[in-house]
Amino acid sequence: GDQIRTIDLFTRPQAAQPQEFQSIQLIAQEWRKLGLDVNVRVMPWEQMSDVVWYQRDNWDATAWQMVGRPERSDPDEIVFNLFHSTTADKGYNFIGYLNPEYDTVVEAERVEIDEAKRKELIDKAQEILAADQPNMMLVHPKQTFAFDKTVWDPASVVEQSGIGIRNTWTFMSLTPVGEQKDIILNSGDNVQAINPLYISGGVDSWVFELVYDRLVRVGPDGLPKAWAAESYEWKDDKTIAVTLREGMKWHDGEPVTPEDVKFSFETAVSGEAPMYAPFATNIENIAIDGSTITFTLKQPAASFVTSSLAKINLIPKHVWEPIIADLKTKEENAESYQEETPIGSGPFRFERWLTNEEIVLSANKDHFNAPKAERWILRIVPNVEAALGMLRSGEINFLAEFSGDPQVLLQAAEQDGDLETVSTVEMGFRYVAFNNRRPPFDDPAFRRALSTAVDRRLIVKAAYRGYAEPSNSVVSPALGFWHNEAVVEGFEAGHDVAVKILEDAGYTLEGDRLHYPGDQKETLAE
């Protein structure tokens, strides 16, 4: 066959994503050893995703990542949206993975309420993916965060499975040991908006998860836990009854009522909050009876509690009703509406927001789970070195984001003595997405070969400095229940393995360059 064209491999800039960048350098070097000409192209996230998402026929392979979020404790969002054929056209299956067998498995998984049966289906899905290698899974990074133990009682820090210690639970329970009662933490990204009806940047969610309550929150163990709901109960596989907690108050003093809850869910599908719509579209009806709210679903949904009840922010009807009514008459929707002072019912109240500098929240002492700290202050620090320096000097006391080398952090903690670090395997993961639409990536054998060519342990060591778990499954070991250990253990990697797969599939090396099997032509060379 023809010589395989130069393969473009996208990655983000080193300054933004050092580990990803380094992994890609290593991977490219391994692939070149197979006889491929690899061109690493560095571009900022927005450009990269523009190509990958909107020009689906136009790329070869790209570094990509899924981050851990509490709602993703249920594997449904990942296993369905990333690989199902319905999302291949314009949805998240941008790699164009089409496998009818896989489709059936995940369609069944969605509506299976029985956990044991569902677990089998999820395992099966992981196996199919391992065999097909539509993506090349790399690692589940370990999130490493740090805090000042002379300020915060280490016992009050909560490690959330798959997420790490930077989580809502920690912020609520952190207990000061001394004078300093403010949680001061850092973020490298700017806060984009604090809007309960808009899903914006990752940092934003740290803020609105504290300001707004939800009926259910995903607990530190990854399992849903009643929160603003006193309790919830499946009446049948399409009906769930939720009892609202008594005595809750909005930050402006008004009581939280079942009407507010109903309003919150209805607003999501009102057309004014398109981003939240997917989480509430499955609801057919919401009925109120005293403090009990009954949701009737259109279809059974295994993940409803995690992905809907634990996702929709509760918002005060008296504040938002006039706003929504006004927005109906305008071109904008609620996503671009920024309240002067966001009013929620959560454990922290909104105090102040200085553009690109800091956000200040104060403890809501009236909350049923009132925080121990007094204030929660988020500082925007784009320079990693500076963030670490600030932690050591006490300018911040909780390192909530650290994109640098974890070893450096550990070393700093050791030297300093006042710092404690906690590393947690993430439920998110890093991978290289293959464009399954384009040859040679349409050949599972080729994908498998590329994937096996790279020793994940080298990536873990060289790029992540040991702070990651090698991965071969989209379901992280952090989600212990759903994770299929076998797919990872059965994965064999190495240059020789890859060469053998390629040879078996008929690829040939001519000169130093890899050629297609048989008489396959290169159709995409420029």
Partner: protein, 298 residues
Amino acid sequence: MLDTTLPRPGFVARFFRSLRLPLNDPFAVAGLTIYAIFILTAIFADAIAPYDPTEILYTPDYDLAADLRPGEDGFILGTTSLGRDIFSQIVYGTRSALLIGLTAAFMVALIGSIVGLVSGYFGGWVDALLMRLADVAFGIPFLPFVIVLAAFLEPSIWNVVIAMALVLWRDTGRVIRSQVLTLRSRSYVDAARVSGSSDFKIILRHIAPNILPLSFLYGSIAIGWAILTEASISFLGFGDPQSISWGYMLQDAFASQALAKQAYYWFVPPGVCIILVVSAGFFITRGYENLLFPKLGR
């Protein structure tokens, strides 16, 4: 052309003479020497550098050769956190630094000189148009422009050059224009006109040689600008990781937390190289200033 009966010095020699290199200024000589050393390094980079600057290296025991201190395992200046040889990077970095610096300087000097010559000599609407264009170029903040350009085209060291060519001709252009204005009013230009020389000939013969040193001066300022800008652009993440430059090395160092790791060997060598080359340019520039505007100097 002028007179063929007499032997004339060769073109190259004449060119260098007309540049009027400030060889009697010790600073300028130091600058020229630094340039010479770096130019030689760039030319013979392949022979000097022991490794490919982008190659990820392994230690004899098949471990990644990352974070090695200078001298360890035979790496003269150590390795980066990705296991690349710093010395080789410095050597190859010379190449891109000079490539960027010299081409940018050439573009800036060339475009600026042409604009200045045409504008200053012909005056009238040509002048008005070109000077308004210069005003526009003055209105465009340079570094942001390069960033946008880097985002617009792909990250590449040439972005800096293109941006400089598009924007920075303005300074050279204006200065040369005013110089041309004074030259134009010199009697010998009138004399040339009276003796029947065409405009083109006058520009070429009587005016251009006089602004050559000035173009060269602005060119050497541009070298520094280009290298510094490339470094800043790399630092902000818009650089080209394929071609190793000193700016890239600096940003690599900071992305790898050189300060926290106290890995001075990551950022001192490229930093020193940048400072050397850019200062060398400034030294030469100053020598020139003393030469061109002797009343400035002492």
